[in-house]
Amino acid sequence: MALNVTDLRVYYRTLRGEVKALDGVTFSVADGEIMGLAGESGSGKSTLAKSLIRLDGRMRHVGGTVELDGKTMPLADDTGMDRFRFREVSLIPQYSMSALNPTRKIGKMVGELLDSRGERLERAELERRLELVGLSKDVLDRYPIELSGGMKQRVVMVISTLLNPSLLIADEVTSALDVSSQKAVATTLLGFRDRGLVTSMMVVTHDISLVYQIADTIMVMYAGRLAEKAPAEVLVTAPRHPYTKQLISALPEVGVRYEDRRLTGIPGNPPSLLKPPGGCRFRDRCPLAFDQCAEQPPFAEVAPGHFVACWKAE
């Protein structure tokens, strides 16, 4: 198992109390697995991604463990995490466009970055990696401002994977791109795994149809907890959690017209995570809710590789 997360809890400190953004999350990602992590804003998907790299000042590791390739990651220990960052776990940030130093040429910046980590890399290897994502080696002699958004995104992707990390986290990497660049970036991610540059991958996104294109499994989060995890095909065609079902049926597709089939959204709003209600957090919006939902359902395996947190999932 590449990644094992057990009962992870990460809260945000605010003036009005603690926001339980990640409240008891247990799952694993296998070697070679590309897992899509989907959810709406405030579901905790970005908090989960960030927790595996670096907790910022407002975030507090309340409980739970994260194991990567058998080693426990010291989430709360900022300097202790340095042994893992970039080498074992690497992140492609959401705003890659602004992740590059504007005063350095790309080549120089990459050199300085590797120096600071005490690593060396052959220039030929760097050029080969750029070629893999469809960039010419000339970009090394250019400033970030000379590259387009999609090119910068790909440069950051190359940098993030230079040390062949075991786990790569891609946080909303396609959200700011046009549909044609989205496709290019997504297939590049797939290429990283297929060429063995990274072992497994977590692709965080709000766009289920995009992640469905490249992911082996998809995990859906709701209000700080896991709702469902299943092989991508199963999750899209036969979801079992009522939230996943409603979410997928609310997605307009090319070919679906308003006159032919009127789609419906999910009424209501997600609960506040400041003082979340007990039991299942989807209860208030759920058409199937019954008495037992006052008790939190376990994230149980209902079929091989298919986990659902719902009492009514059979």
């Binding site: 709406e40 804003s41 958004g149 046009d178 549909v179 044609s180 989205q182 496709k183 997504a186 297939t187 709000h206 766009d207 289920i208 149809s209 995009l210 469905y212 294109q213 899209v236 065609t237 409603q246 979410l247 997928i248 609310a250 997605l251 307009p252 597709e253 090319v254 070919g255 679906v256 017209r257 308003y258 009127r262 789609l263 419906t264 959204g265 999910i266 709003n269």
Partner: protein
């Protein structure tokens, strides 16, 4: 109702504005009453610039935009124009002043446009407008922006536009910032407003959203129309290679991306008979379905010959 007639927009760029950038060139289309037209394009296609020109937020460099035959730049009283045409934009959170209650947007409409309306009558109208966008007035009135969700704020902005009894709504990427579970409600709302006779220009980069709600579709690339016509024709039988490649890149559920084989299809514009070129630069390949030249170079060959 609204008619664009070879509209162009030129921006001055570079140091001292020495260079020119043609953001929109010779775009012509119409939006009728009770019709949803979606304007689809990638970043830099000029779709937002067009929306801003229609809303008179940007000047028009060439061509004419008319509303019921009247040039919109000749309407001196801007208020009179904005009584009929309103816009809603991408980010609902930045449209409200966080210091004031969210319903201040309605009070400002009253102050500016209906100063003589009585308080009671006005309250009824606001409640009516909120109900028409499926918001419970008791739930949203008196709240501050941070207490409301993005979908609620966006619907309040649409209600604000509806209060004016407008005839045309320019909706510029109004869905992009919303979550999947609420965006479909806003889309359905647009469809309901259309049924009341409102014309809607729906600007988006998301083809599946445009396809869901619109009657007609205009596909823009680098400021030019590449294809336009009835939505089912444009999406069902795309005639321009750019439209086809866009459609192929859209991530779908239940179908994985296939590697598009570069196809050798003849240019639909030059294949079409001369008399079908009813609009400048566009050929009508079938009823209400226009396509531009695919960049096949046929025009050059003719010039040389």
């Amino acid at each position: 109702m609204l008619k664009l007639d070879s509209v162009s927009k030129v921006y001055r760029v570079g140091a001292f504005g020495g260079r020119e950038l043609k953001a929109v060139s010779d775009v012509s289309f119409e939006v009728g009453e009770g019709e949803v037209v979606s304007l689809i394009g990638e970043s830099g296609s000029g779709k937002s610039t067009l929306g801003r020109m229609i809303l008179r937020l940007a000047s028009i460099s060439g061509g004419r935009i008319t509303l019921d035959g009247r040039d919109i730049t000749s309407i001196k009283d801007r208020k009179e124009y904005y009584r009929q045409v309103q816009g809603v934009f991408q980010d609902p959170f930045s449209c409200y002043n966080p210091v004031f209650r969210a319903d201040r947007v309605f009070a400002m409409i009253k102050e500016q446009y209906f100063p003589q309306a009585g308080a009671d009558e006005w309250r009824k109208r606001v409640e009516g407008a909120l109900e028409s966008v499926r918001l419970d007035p008791g739930n949203v009135l008196g709240k501050y922006p941070h207490q409301l969700s993005g979908g609620q704020l966006q619907r309040m902005l649409i209600a604000r536009a509806v209060l004016l009894d407008i005839r045309l709504l320019v909706a510029d990427e109004i869905i992009s910032m919303l979550d999947a579970s609420t965006r479909i409600d806003v889309l359905n709302l647009l469809a309901d407003l259309r049924a009341r006779g409102l014309g809607i220009l729906f600007v988006t980069h998301d083809l599946s959203l445009g396809n869901y709600v619109s009657d007609r579709t205009v596909v823009l690339r680098h400021g030019k129309i590449v294809e336009m016509g009835r939505t089912d024709l444009v999406f069902g039988n795309p005639a321009h290679p750019y439209t086809r490649s866009l459609l192929a890149s859209v991530p779908r559920l239940h179908a994985k991306w296939t590697d598009a084989v570069p196809e050798d299809v003849p240019c639909a514009f030059h294949e079409a008979p001369q008399e079908s070129r009813t609009r400048p630069g566009l050929a009508e390949v079938e009823g209400d379905h226009f396509v531009a030249c695919a960049g096949c170079g046929a025009s050059k060959i003719k010039e040389n010959a």
